[in-house]
């Protein structure tokens, strides 16, 4: 009994001695982006008891992987509501994983939205379109939440821009997102051009777009894509640029 008491006291002393170090290490790990996922009550409700315990026990990525495989199966069965819930859980468990955010947004904004529009069980076109828009919004939310957790992801910024361009047809938002993507590490070289393409489609910003397209054109052959030349020629006409200042290139489109 005496030894047990001594042992508990020793353990408590050891605990007190390591406390400042553990607090410091936890802070350091959080700053580096580790263990910052909040495993709270709503997540517990989404996961169920067993998976929640597994996630708490250091197997968060494994639980996320298993749920993602389940999500893939759900996608094949076209169960969109359940798929949205599963993807929400997967991204909550692994918020630093770009792939999960990207695929979640893509499933919602592209696959689920088209399925909603072509839903034969809903005779009203207005309601189908409303449902379609709901999934676009959900996809956008996945990108935005993903970017809140990974603000330096060039991939997520680029794909958000594509969503704004192709689904919402919001060229200002698309231009801004492409622009942001181009400033991030490992950005695709073409996103800088894409930002200017979108700028050219915004009424009232033609002059700005023309100047930037011209600047890209001046950078050399690698930037002179057929789209860039086509847009430049269009703006030259629209803005009435003098003939001697126009580019010599023939219109590729």
């Amino acid at each position: 009994m005496k030894r047990a008491v001594i042992a508990v006291v020793l353990l408590l002393l050891f605990g007190a001695a390591r406390l400042p170090y553990e607090i410091h290490l936890q802070k350091l790990q959080h700053q580096a982006g580790f263990n910052s996922t909040s495993l709270d009550l709503p997540l517990r409700q989404q996961l169920g008891q067993m998976s929640f315990v597994a996630a708490l026990s250091g197997f968060r990525s494994l639980v996320a992987a298993i749920l993602y495989i389940d999500a893939y199966d759900t996608w094949q069965k076209l169960e969109w509501g359940r798929l949205a819930g599963l993807l929400q859980t997967v991204t909550t468990l692994q918020p630093k994983s770009i792939v999960y955010w990207d695929m979640a947004a893509w499933h919602m904004a592209w696959n689920a939205s088209i399925a909603a529009l072509e839903n034969k069980a809903q005779p009203s076109k207005i309601l189908r379109e409303r449902e379609q828009r709901k999934y676009w919004e959900l996809g956008k939310k996945f990108y935005e939440d993903g970017l809140r957790n990974n603000p330096d992801s060039a991939e997520l910024w680029k794909n958000l821009a594509v969503l704004e361009r192709d689904k919402f047809e919001d060229h200002a938002a698309a231009a801004k997102a492409f622009e942001t993507s181009s400033t991030k590490p490992n950005a695709y070289p073409y996103v800088r051009r894409f930002a200017v393409y979108e700028l050219a489609k915004i009424p009232g910003r033609e002059h700005e777009a023309y100047d930037r397209l011209k600047a890209l054109y001046a950078e050399g052959r690698s930037e002179r894509s057929p789209t860039l030349i086509h847009l430049l020629k269009q703006l030259e006409e629209k803005l009435g640029i003098p003939a001697d200042q126009r580019i010599k290139e023939t219109n590729a489109h």
């Binding site: 553990e22 197997f59 495989i69």
Partner: protein, 291 residues
């Protein structure tokens, strides 16, 4: 005890460690590795239909997650069996009757289990990297067949970035440190436990509580919305149990977060501190135990 025998003999410890490793190998502990192989190879085939990025993400999630589970299980189950088995076989009496101090006996046992864990980690790592490399090569050859020029170069660079990165090595090393900590903790429990089942149950309970230790510590120290009577309980959890969450870095490593050298060193140092202290406590408990 023979007075001429050295107080601490690394050679004796090494001999006992090798003997422990042989014993554990005979216990067919390595069957766990078969399960790991099945999971890794199986998940690699199962995810073949997915997009490239998804395939690699899932393969890493499943493999590193399984590696963490299996090393933790091996650490707890194998260590819990060590002392009771030696007592049952009367090996303990034979060893301790010779000029071997109890702390050396425990050091030999601990080193033996650490060797086993190191071996298991290396085998699992080789298997995981092999499967990852094979998938990478298969995806690259598919890309070569479909793309060319700048597109191909970009795609190959993206595949390389999604598969191997320098992060994996420290991530796996931390998995090993965590399992070594669990082995040391289980050894400590087994020095006062009377059955191996009790040791296993206690270690598993400590494992789960250990993952909540950081949360308990935060609540205890922040005290926001905490009842006065829960504070001693939270303090007890924070002080008595190890912070195992500090060693759960692989969840974020697979998502691509880099482990800087300083963070790795400080985390590993905490692990070594735990191992050392739990070993000393094991010696304390075992020194007067009636055998």
């Amino acid at each position: 005890m023979n007075r001429s025998a050295p107080i601490f003999s690394p050679a004796r410890i090494w001999a006992m460690a090798l003997n422990t490793l042989t014993e554990l190998t005979r216990l067919k502990i390595f069957y766990f590795l078969l399960l790991f192989a099945l999971l890794t190879i199986g998940s690699s085939f199962f995810t073949a239909d997915l997009k490239t990025d998804e395939q690699f993400q899932l393969l890493k999630d499943v493999s590193l997650g399984s590696m963490s589970i299996f090393t933790s299980l091996i650490a707890i189950l194998a260590t819990a069996l060590l002392l009771p088995k030696d007592l049952e076989d009367r090996t303990t009496f034979t060893i301790l009757a010779k000029p071997v101090p109890r702390y050396e006996y425990l050091a030999g046992k601990l080193l033996g289990i650490l060797l086993l864990l190191a071996l298991a980690t290396v085998v699992m790592t080789v298997l995981f990297l092999g499967v990852l490399w094979l998938r990478q090569q298969s995806v690259i050859s598919l890309s070569k067949a479909n793309l060319q020029g700048e597109d191909l170069a970009g795609e190959i660079a993206a595949i390389h970035a999604a598969t191997f990165n320098a992060n994996l090595a420290p991530g796996i090393a931390i998995i090993f440190v965590k399992s070594a900590l669990l082995a040391s903790l289980t050894l400590m429990i087994s020095t006062f436990a009377t059955t191996s089942i009790f040791t296993m149950m206690m270690s598993i309970a400590v494992y789960f509580i250990g993952h909540l230790q950081a949360t308990a510590r935060e609540y205890w120290l922040d005290s926001v919305g905490v009842q006065w009577w829960t504070k001693p309980v939270l303090a007890g959890v924070a002080l008595l149990f190890p912070d195992l969450q500090a060693f759960s870095l692989t969840d974020d490593v697979v998502a691509g977060i880099p482990i800087h050298a300083s963070l790795f060193t400080q985390t590993a140092a905490l692990g070594l501190l735990y191992i050392g202290v739990y070993y000393l406590l094991s010696c304390f408990f075992f020194s007067n135990r009636e055998l």
